[in-house]
């Protein structure tokens, strides 16, 4: 989960959000949810225009097609949000009191019962569940979906490694196509039991991923739509089904006639149809959004032009939301290249966090961060700031110079900074960092990459980082699921270091960090544990947190029952429950 687009932000709304929202007018509805008649940021933590009126077509636009429509193969946060339209899994995210999204049983009757050692998890399925083709959804189908994740030759690109690394399996098990059934997932007529190879207390969060959606046992999407081609014809288990799909052009969802509302407490579909149009011109989407041709953007926040309009035009602003996301923007300062900690600290202190946040969109895009754990993840502590960056967060040059003296390079040094040119903001952030470090004599030259190999082999390869001498790189991280483990495991655990596609960017090996992460699997960690981990990471001076993300979205005023899904997809609207007027 590296980029905004790819990562899935998970967030259980923090207190700060409620503060922002308390100013918005709220009216109580019969289901006791927090609701709002609208206004700026109203949908960030309340349901705007609550309604039960059905009918109409919801028109969405995205700047690119999903990486896959196969629930087991998609890893884009916004695509997981789209999966909510047509797939269900054992567990799901449900809005509680209109303010926060939390785990709730979906196909299953509970979040799961586990053995004392967190190694066995059992779920009982509800009755009356059906696929869009009319066939009943059985535990066998759920099992089959998860077994597909082991067939990495055809089912790839998704978050499968979470499952393949925890479910107990023979070494040579290669998925249902080649190796048949997996014995460690046991099924009865109405229940399913997972046997894990090690303790995993966050298991219900994995069960809430689209990747654990049921797939019809062996028949999949029907003749010609098995395995790699299932993306073209995924069978629906949710309230909508795909009526037509033209790759890179459009997806049209209609109501699934076999979905039974009485089995579902999470999804309450209102619109008859949901149209998703792919339009690679993000600015064009924005102008159509403004004109009302589209109802909402499904994947990325609004661009700079619409952002400026929103904050200068009160009418537009009233229909915009800027929810907090569980995303942290940070720089990696590589200890493999800058071996001296004081030299790294000089970079920490000289960095102008305010200017870099401005490069990414300013106050609407984030709040300056002093630690790594973003709001919504257990352990978030907004007061924690081990290396304060001076007045207005523009950098503490006195401390930076002192650090340089300590590292033995009082006049500064030179290094390279890697960034992806796919994001215009990253180019600007590089320039801002260059100007900031120049103030204390640290000279950085840019190492731009067009983005296609940035996360895989450019900064994703520790050896490339070392060979090319990157001292700094721009990175960011959103959790795959809203727990401390979900946020930290890939970026900090020493067992996550891999030769390519590496997310533990600085190749961090810290006993305290590993200890907290591994202990959390047995369900014992508290906020204090995660704060201890955060401090231990900061102590290494390898991750330089810049800001905690926010995303600016615009909603058509005709939308009803709309709220930001702050458990999924970077605070994007929870489209499955949105209705339209007219």
């Amino acid at each position: 989960m590296k980029t905004k687009k790819k990562a899935l932000a998970a967030i259980a709304v923090a207190a700060s959000v409620t503060l922002v929202l308390s100013a918005c007018g709220g009216s109580s509805s019969d289901d006791n949810s927090k609701t709002s008649a609208g206004g700026y940021n109203a949908a960030a933590s309340a349901v705007v225009n609550p309604s039960t009126k059905t009918g109409g077509t919801l028109k969405l636009a995205a700047t690119s097609d999903c990486d896959s429509w196969d629930p087991q193969r998609t890893y884009y946060g916004w695509c997981w949000n789209m999966q909510r339209l047509f797939t269900r899994s054992l567990v799901g995210y449900s809005k509680v009191n209109g303010t926060k999204f939390e785990l709730a049983p979906d196909l299953a009757t509970s979040l799961g019962t586990h053995s004392a050692d967190f190694k066995t998890w059992t779920y009982k399925l509800k009755t009356g569940l059906k696929f869009s083709n009319g066939a009943p959804i059985t535990p066998k189908d759920v099992k089959y979906g998860i077994e597909r994740l082991f067939a990495t030759d055809v089912i790839n690109g998704g978050p499968g490694s979470y499952f393949t690394s925890t479910i107990d399996h023979p070494k040579d098990y290669a998925g249902p196509y080649k190796s048949g059934d997996l014995d460690s997932i046991a099924t009865t007529a109405d229940s399913i039991t997972f046997h894990l190879s090690s303790a995993y207390s966050d298991w219900p969060y994995l069960m809430a991923m689209a990747a654990s959606a049921p797939v019809p046992y062996k028949t999949e999407g029907g003749k010609g739509f098995v395995g790699a081609t299932y993306t073209k014809h995924p069978v629906s288990s949710g309230p909508y089904m795909i009526k037509s799909y033209t790759p890179n052009k459009s997806v049209i969802f209609t109501k699934n006639p076999n979905w039974d509302a009485s089995t579902d407490t999470i999804h309450k579909p209102l619109a008859d149809e949901v149209d998703l149009e792919i339009n690679t011109n993000s600015a064009d989407i924005d102008s159509k959004l403004e004109a009302g041709t589209y109802d909402a953007k499904a994947d990325v926040p609004v661009e700079a032009a619409l952002q400026a309009k929103i904050f200068t035009n009160p009418k537009l602003k009233a229909n915009a939301d800027d929810p907090v996301t569980a995303f942290t923007r940070f720089f990696t300062v590589y200890q493999s290249v800058i071996t001296n900690k004081d030299c790294r600290l000089a970079i920490f202190y000289a960095t102008n966090k305010a200017a870099i946040t401005q490069a990414y969109g300013g106050a609407a895009a984030g709040t300056v961060a002093g630690s790594m754990t973003p709001p919504g993840i257990l352990g978030n502590d907004l007061s924690s700031d081990m290396y304060p960056s001076g007045k207005d967060n523009t950098g503490d040059l006195t401390k930076a110079k002192a650090a340089l003296v300590k590292c033995g390079k009082p006049n500064g040094f030179s290094t390279k900074m890697a960034y992806s040119t796919a994001s215009d903001a990253s180019k600007k952030a590089f320039q801002a960092e260059q100007a900031a470090l120049a103030r204390v004599g640290i000279k950085i030259t840019g190492a731009p990459n067009d983005g296609s190999t940035y996360y895989s082999t450019f900064v994703g390869s520790p050896s490339n980082v070392k060979n090319q001498g990157f001292g700094i790189s721009i990175y960011g991280w959103g959790a795959d699921f809203p727990t401390g483990y979900g946020f930290w495991q890939s970026i900090a655990n020493s067992n996550s270091i891999v030769p390519t596609g590496n997310s533990n960017q600085p190749s961090l090996k810290d006993a305290t960090v590993d200890g907290v992460l591994n202990a959390s699997l047995t369900g014992k960690s508290t906020a204090a544990d995660w704060q201890k981990l955060d401090k231990a990471v900061m102590e290494n001076a390898v991750y330089l947190p810049i800001y905690f993300g926010r995303n600016l979205y615009y909603r058509n005023p005709r939308l009803t029952n709309i709220t930001a899904d702050n458990a999924l997809a970077f605070g994007i609207y929870d489209f499955v429950n949105v209705g339209v007027t007219k």
């Binding site: 007045k391 600007k428 801002a432």
Partner: protein, 331 residues
């Protein structure tokens, strides 16, 4: 015993010039200069070109006098001149003020005038270097092809044909993209841009063809045959007899290639594969401006105007030179 190149040149001029009788010994270039002086548009273009060159050469001096540097960003803390919510400059016309005469950029808050000054340096440095590369290759190879003919001509001409059929834009985009994966060196990037613009059309193959064509007719001229019959070596003839007669077309071609290269550099930078920030470039400025034109078109107009004026100036000068140097222009 033998005639010098200059005398020969004068002799040629006498052959073709109109009002020679009155002005004795005036060279082709002198005549051309007289014609050029009478061409007001070309002179205006020439003056702008000289100004541009001076701006590019003395950008840092000008900036010191002006007192604002593009390296200073007004994007945070006490020097903040941007609206933190929109990232746009506070104040009218992109933050125009007595300290920032043309305003500041969105997001980074850099001084626009300073960016334009240094953009001129980038633009001219690359355009002129690429043109020089094209000239060196084009004249040498064109001369060899035209003069020797035969298999040398065959090889060089076919090679130029091949180059002329290259999809230059696509190739340069992919070349520069690939480059950024392997190297982050600014100097190397400069060299590759110069190479791409100079080596591929419209660069060396065009001038190579033009020179070859000229040489083909020149080598049959009497003064060349005379020289040859007197025992001059091939190199001597090329250097002393033929090359001086190529000065005209080369000069014209140079002034017409530079604006094409200015556009080429701006285009590549606009597409994000040209020079990289923080080195300022007009193309980059245009590319950035595209996102803000709905809010403030100034950002589009200023670098656009800079490119427009420099290309126009070089073209006017080039056209004037062509008229002045072409004896058949009928003036």
């Amino acid at each position: 015993m033998s005639l010098t190149g200059g005398e020969l040149e004068a002799a040629t001029a006498i052959d073709v010039g109109g009002d020679v009788a009155a002005i004795e010994g005036r060279s082709l270039l002198a005549i051309a200069w007289r014609r050029l002086k009478a061409d007001k548009l070309a002179m205006a273009g020439g003056v702008v070109v000289i100004l541009l060159v001076l701006i590019a050469a003395f950008a840092n001096v000008l900036q010191r006098i002006y007192g604002q540097s593009y390296l200073d960003q007004h994007n945070a803390g006490s020097s903040q001149l941007l609206d933190p919510l929109t990232s746009m400059p506070k104040g009218a016309f992109g933050g125009v003020s007595s300290t920032h005469w043309l305003g500041i950029t969105p997001v980074l808050g850099q001084d626009v005038l300073s960016l334009l000054l240094f953009g001129a340096r980038t633009s001219l440095l690359i355009a002129v270097s690429a043109t020089i590369l094209a000239l060196v290759l084009g004249v040498t190879l064109g001369l060899a092809a035209g003069y020797y003919g035969g298999w040398i001509d065959m090889i060089i001409s076919r090679a130029m044909d091949v180059l002329l059929s290259f999809p230059v834009l696509l190739m340069s985009i992919s070349l520069l993209t690939v480059l950024s994966i392997y190297s982050s060196s600014d100097k190397l990037r400069y060299l590759v841009i110069i190479f791409v613009l100079g080596f591929f059309p419209p660069g060396f193959p065009y001038i190579g063809r033009i020179v070859r064509g000229q040489v083909l007719s020149l080598r049959e001229k009497e003064f060349v045959e005379a020289s040859r019959s007197l025992g001059a070596s091939n190199l001597w003839i090329m250097r002393k007899e033929i090359a001086p007669n190529l000065v005209g077309p080369i000069l014209v071609y140079t002034t017409l290639t530079i604006p094409t290269n200015i556009l080429g550099e701006a285009g590549l930078s606009f597409l994000g594969v040209g020079v990289q920030p923080p080195t300022p470039s007009w193309g980059q400025m245009l590319s950035d401006a595209g996102k803000y034109f709905q809010i403030d078109p100034t950002y589009l107009v200023l670098p656009g105007l800079a490119i427009f004026i420099s290309v126009l100036a070089f073209n006017l000068l080039g056209d004037g030179l062509r008229d002045a140097l072409d004896p058949k222009s009928g003036r």
